[in-house]
């Protein structure tokens, strides 16, 4: 299921039809007997709730999750980068981001129009998936805004503890413009490239997680390793805060996944139960994988498994049965475990907080796995009109295209930031910590 947006003059006009009886009669005679567009207050309330739940995922969820994984001296820098990049994304979203992703006119790659939200009023409506049921467009804009904000914040997980604050801001602005908005348009807007291919992405496995994960990898490769990586101890400074952040991410993710149904209905309910069980399976699977690898079942493994399960079920949330979701969460978690514990050390790149290892890898497993769990024979909600193999091909094509687009766009954005502000803090600041060097504060004064 893919969200789409057809709004504006037609929809608003329909609701104004009752203005005069004569006009109404005339319109009824001219148009086909269409369902009157209704804004359901239950849907609207749920979508407003979902929107702030996604904000909770960013602040303080992701900030604490990422912050706890960094060293004491970089705690504030990590949280501030996440918060500031998310805020910048919100401002950009209402000035031109919404237009580029969901504007009234467009081609397969981006849209245009509604710059500065021109023409949007409290009476403007956006489509849901049910004929005749609409949402206030401001709610749709806000909901989508939080997705842009969290995606750019996710990317930062690979570059924290060494990137300049100013570079983060320049990178975020360019990256959103040339990577996020076009991919959001391609996947979610009517007429978008992947939308028309029939790619399944319920809540943003491609747009958010594969996109953020691959971008994080490319950014980390260009930026280089942290000083002392592989030689000095870089243990997380507070797994307690990471655990707190993980819990908030999970709770917020119900807004992210079940909110992507755009209505308070059975599809949202399916997304909700899948967001429970896939995540639970992911948490347990990671700890089992640790045990099988000869380690102890760890708290960080538990948290990592939760995130891996959440990432994997994102594209499948409303596109899978609960049993399929359990398998998907568990498999993705185990594969992510291998990616961060075996693959990353072998390849030697420094993805500080495993943004690629969990969001990128988990996102790819989720996107491909959605083709399988969608099939009605496996308990999925699909109608079986597209075979698993054909759907897998579509998913792989969308995934591959996203990877290429994100990699190229990120390289451009990172080199642009390098030219404008420089990328890395000085070695002195990196050793002393970015909290003091970049923000003039300490996270903890005992």
């Amino acid at each position: 299921m893919i969200r789409k947006l057809i709004c504006g003059a037609g929809a608003v006009g329909a609701s104004l039809l009752t203005a005069t009886a004569a006009f109404a009669q005339e319109a009824a005679a001219a148009a086909e007997p269409a369902v009157e567009a209704v804004v359901d207050k239950g849907d609207t309330a749920w979508m407003m709730t979902s929107t702030v739940l996604v904000l909770l995922m960013i602040l303080p969820g992701l900030a604490l999750f990422y912050g706890g994984l960094t060293r004491t001296k970089n705690m504030l820098a990590t949280m501030t980068q996440i918060g500031a990049a998310a805020c910048l994304a919100m401002i950009i979203w209402v000035t031109y981001g919404y237009g580029l992703a969901f504007g009234p006119e467009g081609n397969a790659y981006f849209a245009w129009g509604k710059w500065f939200l021109a023409g949007v009023t409290p009476d403007s409506l956006a489509d849901t998936f049910s004929d005749g049921f609409k949402l206030p467009e401001y709610v749709f804009i806000s909901f989508q805004m939080t997705f842009a904000a969290i995606t750019v914040a996710l990317v930062l997980g690979s570059v924290v503890e060494r990137i300049k604050f100013s570079a983060v801001m320049v990178f975020a602005a360019i990256w959103l413009t040339i990577v996020y908005f076009p991919i959001a348009h391609m996947v979610w807007a009517a007429g978008g490239k992947f939308f028309e291919m029939g790619a399944l992405d319920f809540a943003g496995g491609t747009v958010v997680h594969i996109n953020a994960g691959v971008s994080a990898l490319v950014a980390a490769l260009i930026l280089g390793k942290r000083i002392g990586y592989g030689k000095e101890i870089m243990a997380p400074h507070s797994l307690t805060l990471t655990m707190v952040g993980t819990g908030m991410l999970w709770v917020g993710w119900f807004g992210f996944n079940a909110g992507s149904a755009l209505e308070a209905n059975g599809s949202a309910a399916l997304a909700m139960i899948n967001t429970f069980v896939a995540t639970a399976a992911g948490a347990l699977a990671w700890m089992v994988a640790e045990k099988l690898a000869g380690h102890k079942a760890s708290a960080l493994g538990f948290c990592s498994g939760i995130i891996a399960g959440l990432v994997a079920v994102t594209p499948a949330a409303g596109n899978s049965g609960p049993m399929g979701a359990i398998i998907l969460g568990a498999v993705a978690s185990a594969i992510c475990f291998v990616a961060v514990t075996v693959l990353k050390p072998k390849l030697g790149y420094d993805d500080s907080l495993d943004a690629f290892g969990i969001h990128g890898v988990g996102g790819i497993v989720g996107a491909l796995g959605t083709a399988i769990v969608y099939a009605p024979g496996l308990g999925g909600p699909g109608d079986g009109s597209v075979s698993i193999g054909a759907q897998l091909g579509i998913q792989a094509a969308a995934t591959g295209a996203t990877i290429v687009w994100a990699a190229i766009g990120t390289a451009i954005a990172i080199y642009a930031a390098k030219a404008v502000t420089g990328l890395r803090v000085t070695p002195e600041v990196e050793r002393e910590g970015l909290d003091l060097g970049e923000h003039g504060e300490r996270a903890y004064n005992y």
Binding site: I233, A235, K296, P345, G357
Partner: protein
């Protein structure tokens, strides 16, 4: 006067304090420290990144006592802090040149 420095296992602190109290030791300074001796460290693993910590947490006790009390204090610490395992710690005894009680200006044994 003697200055006694004992490095012991953290969980033994209360026992040692009580035993020294019955001996008549009037005060001590306690610090949480890290160090290593014969005891091996631990390995921590975070998402596959292994860090072996060869510094283990210990507690350092510093006590100033009169020459007469010093042998009993050392013996008491040794017996109370022992678990018969490596990593139980060490006791060091130094000669103490002088001591002053800040409030009264008393010196020597009366300052202790």
């Amino acid at each position: 006067m003697k200055f006694i420095i004992a490095i012991i296992k953290p969980f033994k602190l209360d026992e040692v304090r009580d035993a020294l109290g019955t001996l008549g030791v009037a005060g001590m300074t306690v610090t949480e420290v890290k160090g290593f001796g014969r005891q091996k460290g631990q390995t921590e693993i975070y998402r596959g990144a292994e860090y072996s910590t060869n510094m283990l947490p210990k507690v350092k006790i510093e006590i100033a006592v009169s020459d007469a009390l010093a042998p009993q204090v050392v013996e008491t610490i040794q017996q109370t802090a022992s678990t018969d395992a490596i990593g139980d710690g060490k006791v060091f005894v130094l000669d103490l040149a002088s001591a002053v009680r800040i409030r009264t200006g008393e010196t020597g044994d009366t300052a202790l």
